[in-house]
């Protein structure tokens, strides 16, 4: 709940500086919740965010890939928890009581909601972004699967990688993407 309140205040704070660095003529704006992982900032559509929780131990699933930390009981629903760091091939870090789990809720093809938790280093900010601000993900040919990258945005000279939650959730096994951010960064220049 605390985390939720924080997110809300972050939204409020951001409404005030929504104009900063963002083209004013873009009427169509979406709000993105961003979080930090290994110094990189990633964003997800805020409408997909169900809640933000602290880390609690999950029940491991047998023979699951390393980035699937297991399942937790979220008020009666079994929710898988994915370590996004490991998912992206970054170095795993130890979980602490302040480790953040973002619970995402996405309407999948079968018209039922799928819920999934992602473990990230920290929640960062909420931005209002216009469609025009978004640049397509660079083509990294076959080196990296960028299907789940919706686009790139510059906010206050920082690059934010917007993730496509649908793709992220439906990826059966998220491929080993060593240093996705680094590669994108270097290719963008």
């Amino acid at each position: 709940m605390q985390a939720n309140a924080n997110a809300d205040s972050a939204v409020a704070a951001n409404v005030a500086n929504a104009g900063d660095g963002i083209s004013p003529d873009s009427h169509q704006t979406d709000q993105y919740l961003t979080f930090i992982m290994a110094g990189e900032e990633y964003g997800v559509d805020i409408l997909c965010v169900q809640e933000i929780r602290g880390w609690e131990s999950a029940t491991p699933l047998p023979n699951a890939p390393a980035h699937i930390k297991g399942v937790i009981n979220l008020r009666g629903t079994i929710v898988p928890i994915v370590d996004l760091r490991q998912c992206f091939g970054m170095e795993a870090i130890d979980y602490t009581p302040v480790t953040v789990v973002i619970v995402l809720k996405v309407k999948s093809e079968s018209s039922e909601y799928r819920v999934m938790g992602i473990v990230v280093d920290a929640v960062s900010d909420v931005y209002s972004l216009g469609k025009k601000d978004m640049r397509p993900p660079p083509d990294l040919s076959n080196a990296v699967n960028t299907d789940f990258v919706k686009g790139l945005v510059n906010v206050e000279d920082k690059m934010v990688i917007l993730l496509d939650i649908d793709e992220l959730l439906t990826l059966e096994d998220v491929p080993n993407l060593a240093n996705v951010a680094k590669q994108i960064q270097s290719s963008v220049g």
């Binding site: 047998p62 023979n63 937790i72 009981n73 079994i78 799928r114 999934m116």
Partner: protein, 828 residues
């Protein structure tokens, strides 16, 4: 106030579909040679309810259609019509047709189908030919004779409704009005049977009626009006013969009252002659200011029905006033022939009468006109062809079942509806909730002022709560359980129809119909079952001649069997047909590049039969010449697997095949045995556990360098080490401190090594697939008392997984001796 009838539609549909099921099964039971009145009544009642309901909601297409069917059934019920096998077929077809019409209506259509028109025409023909039959026989000859000679009959109807008639929503006035539509109501008299005023109950009916009706209708038409109330009323309908009907127009002069004459007294004495109805005309009444109460301004039209009255006797009544009044006395009886009586043929009479008897009366549709005029074959065959062309499945299908395929979307929407639960189950639930509330209040009281001395009381309350919760849970689950006869009920009909269509002599045996199964499972198993039964009939059972040649009885036997086995429901579909032809299946599979010839050589029979479950195994033409069961078996398998079920085939050439479906009892709950492996808690379905025992190293042997077997008394049981299979850290690799849980695996035994046995409890199954995906060896998850998630083991999956691991391990071990760590990596 207006009531939106649409809110009742769903209930109507549900009840109607149920009614149709009743009709169908009753028709199947019906033996045309020896008609059981109970059965025919059941069919009639169901049809009648559907008709009444559809008429109420204005679904005229259905009500008109059902009306004809009902007329025929009524005649059968009354014994005036012989019921032949063809008639049964026709009725069954009508059931299909009505089902389709209702489905169309549900989808917002008007409910007219080609089949319904065709059947209506057949009904019309049956009804018209029937008149001849009933004429030549007994039943109502007098009336029929009268129909011919004069056209009208004078009916006397004595109707004494039960006092509760108004409470049931019936309206006598409406019935009288309906009767007025049949002909001329000559006399309606209400005999007061009123109680004392203080005993009067406004909702009860104390009146009774004696009605005289002059009409050309049949007795049944009158009976029909009272159909809804007949059970609670006394009704006598008789034909009055020899009664004369007088019409008297009485227009007294203005001064008639001055002479001391009273019209009322005249009428009273007229009423002594017979049944009298009066109509007063007040059109001559002056304005109030000009009104003279000494003068008479009224005139009357009187209708007298009497057996004794003659013109003279009537004139005698008016003798004193005749000079001072205008009086016309005319005998009306039989003097106004209806147009019907002029018609020559009885067919036309019948045609006209059918719509007339309905409420509300409706003009004859052009379709029925055509039906009477045109030769029967033409309208009959056309829809038949249309129906056949719509059938997409290449197997021979009876034409009448083909239209079922079309309104599938409508059916789907109906399924999302409701569940009908026996009242006893609900009562039980209410009782239990009551007890739960009591326990809760007891615990609440304890909680408000608690001291340690009352701890035993608290514990007692808690155990009571546990008991209540468990019972409540069980009852709630039971609500969803239905006997499997719900899924089986369609098969007698289907097998019969298929048998007729294919010219095969079939016998269907159904066993274990009372086996209960979760409703959701039942809904999903229906279609696969239909498919399998259809296949058994179509491909399994040979033609009678072939069977005789093989020395088998001419009639093929299909057996449906359902029973509980462990935590599963097993459904078997067996036939005594020709069995599967392994050679042909393999041949076909190779031809379709599903397997290589090399692979096939090592196949067991079972593996070969399994090939027919391969997607793409069959195409339209492939099945007809193949002895196997081709069409869409992959779909069957997929559907069953989606229910966590297993499907197997056993077959012997020329002896028949058996397809076994193993399904979980319910998708929602199971009794579980909690076990611990390292830090992980897993749950075994309790039903699959045979025994648990301490592991003893000396009883363990290695077979073929890898797989461990445990000597269990005289048996050797293969052992699965769960920690290896799931790649988790156990307490100790040392077998001596472990436990072995011996579980049932497809009829055999398998030992699973765990660290500790924990509690047994009922667990609610939660899906992993909903948010994640299927995990091998795990059938689902549940939430334990402390809120953590525990995984439910899938025995079959574990065995398979262990087998795979074993293969991997041995392969791996040969290569690099990496052992368990390497295995874990391999798995991830």
């Amino acid at each position: 106030m207006t009531i939106d009838l649409a809110q009742f539609h769903q209930v109507f549909y549900e009840e109607s579909f149920e009614g149709l099921d009743v009709m169908e099964s009753a028709l199947m039971e019906l033996d045309p040679d020896n008609i059981d009145s109970e059965t025919i009544n059941a069919i009639f009642r169901a049809a009648h309810s559907i008709k009444g309901g559809s008429a109420t909601f204005g679904f005229t297409s259905v009500s008109e259609f059902t009306h004809d069917l009902e007329t025929i059934l009524d005649q059968v019920r009354a014994g005036t019509r012989k019921f032949s096998g063809d008639d049964v077929n026709l009725c069954l077809k009508s059931v299909d047709c009505m089902r389709e019409m209702l489905q169309l209506l549900q989808g917002g259509d008007d409910g007219h189908t080609p089949l319904s028109k065709e059947l209506k025409q057949q009904f019309a023909r049956m009804l018209s030919s029937d008149t001849d039959v009933s004429d030549s026989q007994e039943s109502i000859p007098a009336q029929a004779a009268e129909l011919d000679s004069q056209g009208t009959t004078l009916w006397e109807i004595r109707f004494t409704p039960g006092s509760d008639i108004l409470k049931t929503g019936n309206d006598v006035l409406r019935m009288l009005r309906d009767m007025g539509d049949l002909g001329e109501l000559l006399s309606v008299s209400c005999t007061p049977n009123l109680p004392a005023f203080n005993a009067f109950d406004a909702e009860s009916c104390y009146l009774s009626w004696r009605i005289l009706l002059e009409s050309d209708c049949e007795k049944s038409a009158i009976q029909e009006i009272f159909e809804w109330v007949i059970d609670e009323s006394e009704l006598v309908i008789s034909e009055t013969e020899g009664l004369s009907h007088w019409k008297i127009l009485f227009k007294p002069g203005a001064t008639i009252l001055h002479t001391g004459n009273e019209p009322l007294r005249l009428f009273t004495s007229l009423a002594e002659l017979g049944e009298l109805t009066t109509t007063a005309f007040v059109d001559k009444l002056p304005r109030l200011s000009l009104f003279d109460c000494e003068n008479c301004f009224m005139s009357w039209e009187l209708s007298l029905v009497s057996s004794t009255a003659t013109k003279e006797s009537i004139e005698a009544v008016f003798e004193w006033v005749v000079d001072d009044a205008e009086l016309v006395i005319a005998q009306e009886s039989n003097s106004k022939p209806k147009p019907v009586s002029d018609r020559a043929t009885k067919d036309v009479v019948q045609e006209q009468k059918a719509p007339q008897a309905q409420t509300p009366p409706k003009a004859q549709t052009p379709a029925t006109n055509v039906a009477a005029a045109s030769p029967p074959e033409i309208p009959q065959t056309k829809p038949q062809v249309a129906a056949e062309s719509r059938a997409s499945v290449p197997t021979a299908k009876p034409a009448d079942s083909a239209p079922k395929a079309k309104p599938a979307p409508a059916k789907k929407s109906a399924e999302t509806g409701s569940i009908r639960v026996g009242i006893d189950k609900v009562d039980n639930l209410i009782n239990m909730v009551g007890e739960l509330v009591i326990t809760q209040s007891m615990l609440g009281q304890l909680g408000t002022d608690f001291d340690v001395n009352r701890l035993p009381k608290l514990l007692e309350g808690l155990s009571q709560l546990e008991q209540n919760t468990r019972e409540l849970q069980e009852s709630v689950m039971r609500i969803r359980m239905l006997p499997i006869s719900f899924a089986f009920s369609r098969f007698p009909r289907m097998v019969r129809d298929l048998g007729q269509a294919l010219g095969k002599d079939l016998q269907l045996e159904m066993l274990g119909e009372h086996t209960e199964l979760d409703k959701t499972v039942m809904e999903k198993i229906g279609d696969p079952l239909v498919h399998l039964v259809r296949n058994a009939v179509d491909h399994g059972i040979e033609m009678p001649a072939d069977r005789l040649a093989k020395g088998k009885p001419a009639n093929g036997k299909i057996t449906l069997n359902a029973y509980h086995q462990g935590g599963n429901v097993v459904i078997e579909i067996s036939d005594d047909g020709k069995g599967l032809d392994r050679e042909k299946i393999v041949e076909k599979a190779i031809e379709k590049n599903l397997v290589t010839p090399l692979e096939c050589e090592t196949f067991t029979d079972e593996q070969a039969y399994d090939l027919i479950f391969q997607p793409g195994f069959s195409t339209a033409q492939a099945v007809s010449d193949l002895s196997g069961r081709g069409v869409g078996m992959d779909v069957v398998k997929r559907n069953i697997q989606a229910l966590n079920g297993i499907v197997e085939i056993r077959s012997t050439k020329d002896k028949g095949s058996t397809i076994t479906i193993r399904l979980p009892l319910t998708l929602a709950i199971l009794d579980g045995q909690l076990v611990r492996v390292g830090n992980n808690t897993y749950i075994f379905p309790l039903v699959s556990i045979i025994e648990s025992l301490h592991c003893r190293r000396e009883f363990i042997n290695k077979v073929a360098g890898g797989c461990n077997v445990f000597k269990l008394r005289d048996d050797y049981v293969p052992i699965i080490e769960l920690y290896k299979t799931f790649s988790v850290q156990p307490d100790a690799i040392d077998m001596d401190h472990s436990l072995i849980v011996v579980v049932d695996y497809e009829g055999g035994k398998v030992g699973v090594v765990v660290d500790e046995l924990l509690a047994q409890q009922q667990v609610v199954i939660k899906s992993l697939e909903q948010n994640y995906r299927r995990v091998d060896g795990i059938s689902g998850a549940t939430i334990l008392g402390d809120g953590t998630v525990a995984l439910i083991l899938d025995i079959t999956g574990i065995v398979k997984l262990a087998g795979d691991k074993f293969v991997q391990t041995s392969a791996r071990a040969r290569m690099s001796q990496e052992g368990l760590q390497g295995l874990a990596q391999l798995a991830s």
